[in-house]
Subunit: 337 residues, 3 copies
């Protein structure tokens, strides 16, 4: 485990150090669990009381809270951001380097300096891997792809042909980019496949979760903006466009040709139907279904709340009478006038 | 890029060519984006006005619309089908051929002529790959499988043992066919695994999306009919039977032993519980839950519509009083009589 | 196919054999389909009438039903458990053995006796595979992992670094354990990644379905209890804790830091939001959303029931007026007093 001095951490965080500059730490932990060789952080005020018994070698915190902790302190305005920045220092690194002897790299592929291709990985014809790209074990990249500087694919990822990823993307295992969009024409009673001729293009700093699938476009590309974060098992259909810095939680599905604005947050297990436009700054709560375009920023929801199963059954039965109930209510109102 | 003359396209589409027979095109695009070296199509009347400024080398369209476009035309009754058929001409082809040196093919496997097995792929004992089968890189096929003529598995697909695929199937990356159905018997407080002894069998012209999972049957097989199309991240549990030409959109889950009829369309993110029977021609809208058998063709839905989060909270709170509201309404009606 | 005598089956099941001890069977089937060389079972009384025409070589059944069947019988109190135990006898075995020549096993990895590593698999540095572990083809295991005795990974599984699996786990294809939890801090309009420094730890006898994803913890571990069963395409976010013997059906998603008690059953396609506590013995019906902690065992539901689409549209429109309807109802009640 690598050690860092508190002075180095202060510099890394652009934080004010109150305490021992040479004090070494080699890990990051919660206030409750941290040991003297670890650094911790206070980002949520409800944990302030834990400071009195905290054994951490140093704590990242807001200057206003500094008086609550007697030990070494790293003071900054946004301690949660401090935590994020520290986490990068203590993250594990891949143990592979260079192009593994069991990888299959096409003769026409172009690999820049410092590229890692893991065991069993496959890199297609005319594909270009820029400086610092890491391709995890048994990952497959098709022909005519570009992976930008420092982009990292974990193990067992699949990138189809003609996919362009920006810089510093991270793609987790079992994710698939560039699979065929779901398009068919009817010919009598049979479905005739519409081959998907577009690609997928992502901006910089995009993260794509495990098992997430992003289909290639039918004719034009599917587009993922800069800084977009997709959790696990998200489904992005063909020709979807996701605006910059939009974040989508696990198991949400977005149907074809829908466009999301910038800075949207879509919670888990939502559905968004096809050919819609969502404005910037739209927030959708968990397991909601969006079937119309949304023109204004704000929070949106659908569904019903959890209830005891017996009560829920009775209420759900009444839901089927709701239109009739509304008419009966109106009739009573007319009688009472 | 391969070039095709309009005469060849007319023959491929069984369309009437009005224009230059020798005119070459090498791609397919939308009316808005098409260049003179590309062909386009008019399938949705709302785009008719785009024809006046369309630069395509030719447009596939219905004869009734022919007067809207001055350039080369390919006239046919179903231009959307024309688009589908053209898309096949311009689709990319795999760059691998033959059995790659890094593939592991069991000695007892039988490979017909013209079979492609990509780098790192594994083919099990007694498995038979018929003529024209393509196995993408790092795909794994278990023992005792059959893949019909021209079936194509993309990269990182998993086919367990004892799975039989028909002709011209396409299976996308991270899909899994033949995993164990979810079956356990209770023994006191523990779950005892019911090993799944059935298989999976698919008809011809089936397409299976990225990350879709189809479990093997408990004793009998899980069955996917001819021409069935499954989008990404669909879950098909053990002993489900899907009728011919049924199409299921992304992230829908179907529980064990449920049977769907022919020509059903199930939208995305639906749930269908176990041991149900759905008739032919059932259509279920997005994110609906089906908990009872459906005996008649038609469209079905559940859930509530999206609303502003504040309004939704108030209405969702009232949903929990709905049975009580119905009783109070009835009481008022009795008073007013 | 292996043959077993009924005497052996009786011993395996701890059942009372009524019939021919030396009679050989080599398979398991339903009452309707079973042949004389197969054994069957009666676990659901609604199939009792099938016994009269059942051709099975023997039937596992409750002693109270014995008089319904003239053939060989294996009598025990829980015939469904009997079926589960028999299924293990007739399950297929992997055709690989030892460490395949195309596998990449790190020099510092420790492999106990009787370990199988399939073609194309990768085992990381300092990883320990205990006795009887099976690693399917093209599966990737990162550095510093432990796989307990007799744990089995199917093909194309991904285990990130620092994951510890108990004994007799089964992990199906395309599953991912140890991917990064979905954690980011805001820095102006950008998201800054919180590197996920915790691991994943599972108990004994855990089964994890195809395409299921389990994220590593942010600082502490994500924990899966003994005997937990996860179906396909389940999403378990970082720092979730699942109590012993809890079972979760397909496509359910559980958000970060939520704890489920023991013996919970969560049906398919549910959502459970983050930072909740669910008691032991909680049962949630299909496609329900849980947004609050649940303190008492019992069954819980949300959503509405399926209806004809036209009727549903009218009722869903009224749902948006529900709070207003409640107020109008109250007003009428006040008038009538």
């Amino acid at each position: 485990m690598q050690h860092h001095t508190l002075a180095k951490l202060a510099q890394h965080l652009d934080a004010e150090l109150v305490g021992m500059a040479d004090y070494p730490v080699n890990g990051l932990s919660t206030l409750m669990s941290a040991q003297p060789h670890q650094v911790s952080f206070l980002a949520n005020m409800k944990y302030t009381s834990q400071l009195s018994s905290c054994a951490a070698g140093a704590v990242v915190m807001h200057p206003d809270q500094a008086h609550h902790f007697a030990g070494n302190k790293l003071l900054m305005a946004n301690p949660y951001l401090g935590y994020a920045k520290l986490s990068a220092l203590f993250a594990s690194k891949t143990s592979f380097s260079g192009v593994h002897s069991t990888a299959t790299v096409a003769a026409s592929a172009v690999l820049a300096d410092n590229v890692v291709v893991g065991p069993g990985s496959v890199v297609g014809e005319n594909t270009r891997l820029e400086k610092g790209v890491v391709v995890g074990p048994n990952t497959v990249i098709g022909d005519d792809c570009v992976l930008g500087i420092d982009t990292r694919l974990e193990a067992n990822v699949t990138i189809y042909y003609g996919v362009t990823l920006g810089q510093r993307n991270i793609v987790h295992s079992s994710a698939v980019l560039g699979s065929d969009g779901f398009g068919f024409a009817k010919d009598g009673e049979e479905w005739v496949k519409i081959h998907q001729l577009g690609g997928v293009i992502t901006g910089n700093d995009v993260e794509i979760g495990a098992g997430t699938t992003i289909d290639r476009g039918a004719l034009d590309d599917t587009e993922i903006g800069h800084g977009v974060k997709l959790d696990n098992q998200v489904q992005i259909a063909h020709n979807v466009i996701l605006g910059d810095y939009t974040a989508i939680a696990g198991c949400t599905a977005i149907a074809g040709s829908t466009t999301l604005g910038k800075h949207c947050t879509i919670a888990g297990a939502c559905g968004i139907t096809g050919h819609l436009q969502l404005a910037d700054g739209v927030h959708v709560t968990a397991m909601s279904l969006v079937t119309h375009s949304i023109k204004e920023a704000g929070a949106y929801s659908s569904g019903t709340s959890l209830d005891d199963n017996n009560k829920w059954r009775r209420n759900a039965a009444r839901f089927k009478q709701l239109d009739q109930m509304a008419k009966r209510l109106k009739h009573l109102e007319q009688l009472s006038q």
